[in-house]
């Protein structure tokens, strides 16, 4: 059993963190180029062969590793060098609870494609998000620089404000699926529900039986559309992703809290933001987009369909690959959405960021909780 955990951790470290995060930088460059009607970066080559600019992440890493490591005079040396490591660790360990697939039984061996599956998986993500503030706050303070201090103050206020709304906006999802365990949430979204069922619940109208084929997959985004929008906003602000990159505002406070960092220490800050982009994509896919489940085809349907000419072991293995591919497809769609939001919206001002959190998202999330509770009471009362 520990061997399984070690293999899964190595998979996450090597394939996702080291392999996928540099590709996300390439996606950012190429997507912004396509959106802005230009070509983007495509000059990095090996012996004259450019691969559409896919070698640029490698060139970036080599450049960052070869730069001089500067510690500013008068700065606290230990804190200055510790801050990027404290920023990178929470981004990586948040992958431990994200389910890349469901639970598959091969004979008497149950394989679940998630590294750790505690009962309180979603709360673990929030706890790790709380720890992530320290890297940026320490970096802002330890650089002995006025601009870094301003960036550090702003980033601490922004991150602890959006933690609150991040938690409150998923309470609706928690109420509907009744569990905080992320694999159970993905399993609960494996079904479909009648689209016109709300008429029966809210107004008492009887839906004719011949309209029962009109079903939607039971995903979180259909049950909680407002929760999806609020959660995406809050977690993008938590990641300091544009349009919420006020703390590292390039035109106002000259890169804020990571101003005095060069070389691979800046590379750690840069990479941890992209690693967290993938965490956000995986988390939103699990909570709102049905996780690894294929819409309209539940796990038993797929295994039953494949297991006709073959045996069930092979069918289960093939179903596992199908589910993993479906999850990665949803993750890529969410990454595309975050990149599109980054290159479309202008940066928020600091008071606009705080207004959005405390005056708009917080009351709306509380209203969301009330409305969800009321609809659930009516649904339980009528059935």
């Amino acid at each position: 059993m520990p061997v399984e955990v070690i293999v899964k951790s190595l998979f996450i470290l090597i394939v996702v963190v080291v392999g996928l995060a540099p590709v996300i930088t390439w996606i950012e460059r190429k997507q912004s180029a396509v959106m802005q009607d230009r070509i983007g970066a495509n000059r990095a080559d090996v012996a004259g062969i450019t691969v559409l600019g896919l070698l640029h992440p490698l060139a970036d890493v080599i450049k960052l590793l070869a730069k001089e490591d500067v510690v500013p005079t008068g700065a606290n040396r230990v804190m200055h060098q510790l801050a990027p490591m404290i920023a990178a660790v929470p981004a990586v360990i948040a992958y431990a609870v994200i389910p890349f697939g469901g639970v598959y039984t091969f004979g008497d061996w149950k394989l679940s494609l998630v590294a750790a599956d505690p009962d309180w998986g979603l709360l673990y993500i929030f706890a790790i998000g709380s720890i992530a503030t320290y890297g940026s706050v320490l970096a802002g303070w330890a650089s002995n620089n006025n601009w870094s201090l301003l960036g550090g103050l702003r980033v601490s206020a922004q991150m602890i404000s959006y933690e609150v709304t991040m938690g409150l906006s998923v309470v609706g999802v928690f109420m509907i699926f009744g569990t905080l365990k992320l694999t159970d949430m993905a399993i609960a979204q494996d079904q479909t529900f009648r689209l016109l069922g709300f008429l029966e619940v809210l107004f008492g109208l009887q839906v004719p039986v011949w309209l029962d084929w009109l079903r939607l997959p039971g995903w979180g985004i259909f049950y909680q559309p407002l929760g999806f929008v609020m959660f995406l906003t809050a977690i993008m602000a938590e990641n300091k992703r544009p349009p919420f990159d006020m703390p590292e505002g390039e035109s106002e406070i000259i890169a804020g809290y990571h101003l005095e960092y060069s070389g691979m220490r800046f590379g750690l800050f840069y990479m941890s933001e992209f690693i967290e982009v993938i965490v956000i994509a995986g988390l939103v896919a699990t909570l709102f987009l049905g996780g690894w489940s294929v819409p309209y085809l539940s796990q038993e349907t797929i295994i039953g369909a494949i297991a006709g000419p073959f045996n069930t072991e092979f069918a289960t293995g093939l179903c596992m690959i199908v589910h993993f591919a479906c999850f990665m497809l949803k993750v890529i769609v969410m990454i595309w959405l975050q990149m599109a939001l980054r290159w479309t919206l202008p940066r928020f001002r600091y008071d606009q960021v705080m207004d959005l959190c405390w005056k708009i998202i917080l009351p709306l999330s509380i209203v969301n909780i009330f409305v969800t509770g009321a609809v659930m009471l009516l649904a339980r009362g009528s059935s």
Partner: protein
């Protein structure tokens, strides 16, 4: 020497070392705050070993993730760099504090040094310490505590706002 016992001693040593680092670190207030964070995370690990899952997560989310950030925020706002305090009657106070602490520690250790069974001899019921049971207990048996806690937090919010406001003359 099973894994939970080894983990408990590792977390315990980490907690004591960082607590000492917090209290004895004279020059740097931010280093004291970071040592406090390490102590709280070590204690959260011990809560996980004692099967108090919701309390462990709330400790990291609220205590280590918000309260100590508030300390750091105030340190950064006031720009407190070095504790360059003038010397006073410090050695007398320090000796007295150390003596008092040794007396209290020996008394506490004497009180609890025997007669307590091992916790794992008592099996915890299923779902103990999980969010479901703690939530049900909070909102059925202890709902008055929850209401009082919310009133206390409202008073704290109003108090902190008024204290930190500049005078508008």
């Amino acid at each position: 020497m099973t894994v939970p016992v080894v983990l408990f001693y590792a977390f315990a040593v980490l907690a004591v070392v960082s607590a000492l680092g917090m209290v004895l670190n004279v020059r740097n207030t931010v280093a004291s705050a970071m040592n406090l964070v390490v102590t709280m995370i070590a204690l959260a690990g011990i809560y996980l070993l004692l099967e108090a899952y919701l309390v462990a997560v709330v400790q990291i989310m609220v205590y280590a993730g918000a309260i100590v950030v508030l300390f750091l925020f105030v340190v950064m706002l006031l720009n407190l760099r070095h504790d360059t305090f003038a010397p006073g009657r410090q050695w007398l106070v320090k000796a007295g504090a150390l003596l008092l602490s040794l007396v209290v520690l020996s008394e506490l250790l004497r009180l609890f040094s025997g007669g307590l069974p091992a916790p794992q001899a008592v099996l915890a019921p299923a779902g103990f310490g999980g969010y479901r049971q703690v939530g049900i207990a909070l909102y059925t048996d202890y709902v008055l505590l929850v209401e009082m806690a919310s009133l206390l937090l409202l008073a704290a919010i109003v108090g902190a706002l008024i204290l930190a406001k500049r005078r508008i003359d």
